[in-house]
């Protein structure tokens, strides 16, 4: 099973007490996100909407590719891949 790192937005991790980088074992992106939810359920409401998809102010990159522009989260992962989740920031 590939081991990948899921990097979370720092504006959330500090507030929720969740690690900045969460290592998971998953064969596809959907499984990696499911694993993330199981490990840190408090972050769900901030990232995902009622349908389970990413909220519209959240971006998810698989390595350098924005996954919003893919057909789904059935994306094969390879050992060492990086999933980066970032979000729009409101304050100023």
């Amino acid at each position: 099973m590939p081991r990948v790192d899921v990097e979370l937005p720092s504006v959330l991790t500090g507030l929720l007490g969740v690690p900045r980088v969460v290592p998971v074992e998953a064969s596809c992106l959907a499984d990696a996100l499911r694993e993330l939810s199981e490990l840190h359920p408090t972050i769900d409401v901030h990232l995902f909407d009622e349908t389970g998809g990413f909220r519209e102010h959240v971006l998810c990159f698989h390595n350098e590719t924005n996954t919003r522009w893919l057909d789904g989260t059935d994306v094969a992962l390879a050992d060492g891949d990086r999933i980066t989740i970032m979000q729009a920031v409101s304050g100023g």
Binding site: P9, S10, V11, L12, G14, L15, R20, T42, V45, H46, E50, R55, E56, H57, L59, F61, E64, N66, R68, W69, T84, M86, Q87, A88, V89, S90, G91, G92
Partner: protein, 373 residues
């Protein structure tokens, strides 16, 4: 050496600026919306650089909690209760009396957006909420004006330049600052189609904010603006910048495909629907008759607001308690125009009643800062 020549000498030494770039800066007009932490940094940098006209719009008054990061203000502004736009303009005129500073103490909204824009060449974002940011984005796309988004909270921030495509631009007088279609970028809604639902993203009032972070993001926004105004459009950082100054992470994401590759066409810069600028997407702020209260409904409702978590985030600002249906509490340091304490009742779908004021602008500000939109 003339005074103007001496003032800008270290800047005109830069080959990318030179005397011609300095002349372009002197003829430019920049609109800065929001004179909080980011707005102060941006206005300070552009004033020192010699941008000929700077318009500043802000609805708030300087408070003691601002001084940690809002670099144009001091204790005398707090004591006098000076509006931020006025305090900023006073300080900026003292820094550079050779340029024009225009201050508006006003809530920037869909009704006054086009009037306040005037003939500005660039809109720079010093805001604290998404509702108004999407108005800026609509305005920029509709009028063909460059827009520099920036946001900062806790120790992390982001910035993105928007050079709108010409496809849906309204017929308008030609602007001084132009760019080619190849130099155009996706707009803010291509990258972030909708604002965060209430309560799903931290604000500076609930998560805090580090002073040097806003200086870093504001400096990036100001640099982007100077590149545009001096015609160095190809030097623009076109990526989405995301930094965390505490964990020492600087990331730049390529979002150039956002407009072309999106599964749903951007309602703003592809379909030409300016629902934030025409007011149809605005969340309502309704003064409740005879109750000294304003009801806020978000533009996007949520059914997932975690009221216990919201109460915990607000704990340092007063006494707040949540049950299965609502959160209620009183802010320790917030007061309405008549000195009444401000009470917040927040429902799990994001609707809120803000008691202690009948002013929608104040209610919107409280909601943006403590609930988040």
């Amino acid at each position: 050496m003339s005074a103007d020549h001496a003032r800008y000498h270290r800047q005109t030494l830069l080959p990318a600026i030179g005397a011609e770039g300095q002349r372009q800066l002197g003829e430019a007009h920049v609109l800065i919306v929001g004179s909080g932490a980011l707005g102060c940094v941006i206005a300070d940098a552009l004033t020192r650089a010699g941008v000929g006209r700077i318009t500043i719009v802000d609805r708030d008054v300087v408070e003691i909690t601002n001084l940690q990061r809002q670099i144009l203000f001091d204790e005398s502004d707090v004591d006098a209760g000076t509006p931020k736009a006025i305090a900023a303009a006073t300080r900026l005129r003292a820094i550079n009396g050779a340029i024009e500073i225009i201050a508006h103490v006003d809530d920037f909204n869909h009704r006054n957006a086009e009037r306040l824009l005037g003939d500005a060449d660039v809109i720079v974002d010093g805001l604290d909420n998404f509702q108004t940011r999407y108005i800026l984005n609509d305005l920029a796309v509709e009028r063909g004006v460059a827009y520099i988004y920036g946001g900062a909270v806790a120790t992390g921030g982001v910035s993105l330049p928007v050079l709108p495509h010409a496809d849906v631009r309204m017929a308008a007088p030609p602007r001084r600052l132009t760019w080619t279609d190849a130099q155009s970028t996706p707009c803010l809604r291509c990258v972030f189609p909708e604002a965060p639902p209430p309560g799903t993203t931290p604000t500076c009032d609930t998560a805090g904010v580090l002073g040097p972070l806003v200086m870093t993001i504001g400096a990036h926004q100001a640099t982007q603006t100077l590149k545009l105004l001096t015609g160095n459009i190809d030097a623009l950082d076109r990526r989405l910048l995301s930094i965390d100054v505490w964990s020492n992470e600087w990331r730049r994401f390529d979002v150039s495909g956002a407009r072309r590759d999106a599964r749903a066409a951007c309602p703003c810069c592809v379909e030409g629907r300016f629902e934030h600028l025409d007011g149809s997407a605005a969340g309502a702020a309704i003064t409740l008759c005879g109750r000294n209260a304003v009801q806020m409904t978000g533009a996007a409702e949520t059914s997932a607001l975690d009221l216990d978590a919201a109460a915990a985030r607000l704990a340092s600002h007063g006494s707040f308690h949540a049950n299965d249906f609502l959160l209620r509490g009183v802010f320790r340091d917030e007061r309405g125009p008549d000195g009444d304490a401000i009470e917040l009742t927040l429902f799990s779908n994001g609707r809120a009643i803000i008691k202690g004021t009948t002013e929608p602008e104040l209610a919107r500000s409280i909601y943006a800062r403590y609930v988040g939109i």
